[in-house]
């Protein structure tokens, strides 16, 4: 892997990469800060709550939840423990597999999510969506899809990332 010569980045590529890096730091810094300041929810936790809220029954097996929220098992386990302390999630034994655990969003958790959502969405608009043209939003979606799955050109009928669902809209 180190045998061949390194293909360094061109000036343009490097500029793109660095700008992207800075943009992500700026963006996620702002997103995280808003959620933490206004709702005392780290962004990672918010993601977990959203995934649960979108599931029929508002409950998911730990492993599925980990996948859905792009999280390691370990991380999810820690996170759900914290969310349980807050009373936002409840863990119960899985009826079909005695190893399994089911994480379920409580009413308090749903309420917390519903309360946090407007501010969060506003921040996503401020920091990202409203700064881009509609064309750029499309471009960003395609670029993201390419990054995630290795260059799929986004065929019309296939969802590239995940389901839709209205992110905690009450």
């Amino acid at each position: 892997m180190r045998i061949q010569e390194t293909r360094w980045l061109s000036a343009g590529e490097q500029l793109a990469w660095r700008s992207f890096l800075t943009a992500c730091q700026t963006l996620f810094g702002a997103i995280d800060a808003q959620l933490l300041r206004d709702s005392d929810i780290p962004h990672g936790y918010y993601e977990i709550l959203v995934r649960l809220s979108e599931t029929p029954g508002r409950a998911l097996r730990m492993t599925q939840l980990a996948e859905a929220s792009a999280s390691s098992k370990s991380r999810l386990s820690h996170a759900v423990a914290r969310l349980e302390e807050r009373g936002w999630v409840r863990r119960t034994n899985c009826p079909t597999d005695r190893r399994g655990q089911v994480a379920e969003l409580t009413d308090e958790g749903f309420a917390a999510l519903a309360a946090a959502a407007p501010g969060h969405v506003a921040q996503v608009r401020r920091s990202l969506i409203d700064r881009l043209t509609p064309e750029q939003v499309d471009q960003l979606r395609e670029i993201s899809a390419a990054i995630v799955e290795g260059a799929e050109p986004l065929p019309p009928g296939v969802e590239p990332c995940e389901s839709e669902g209205c992110a905690g809209t009450p």
Copy 2:
């Protein structure tokens, strides 16, 4: 700020936002993992080393370094302390301002950076650049610039983010 109705994201906007989120997690996860696995350097530390390596004299005041690497003062202070333990950075008193500290990249630090750079660049290609068309790389640069500075359409002669410089190429 909560007076007006929430402008929820449209389906397309939401898809873009979520895909972007997933893409960033995937991307930075891979970048970080490679650097840590092959060179035992967290990406944040790598950034610091790169900034220093690009500065004439390979030294910067702490505050400037914090700005350049998009880091808080506190974070930088902790990070430089760790880097100093590894012998990669040296802290000296600033001659003109006795409050100040100057962080200087040591030869060992430069060597570590030079050793890590090829693998890192290869990973950036694998995970990002080579998955995009040249047009998409340009689009990504413009989108990033818009995120960072509120919608600058990137006039030809102006660098939107930072200097060029060849990221630790020996």
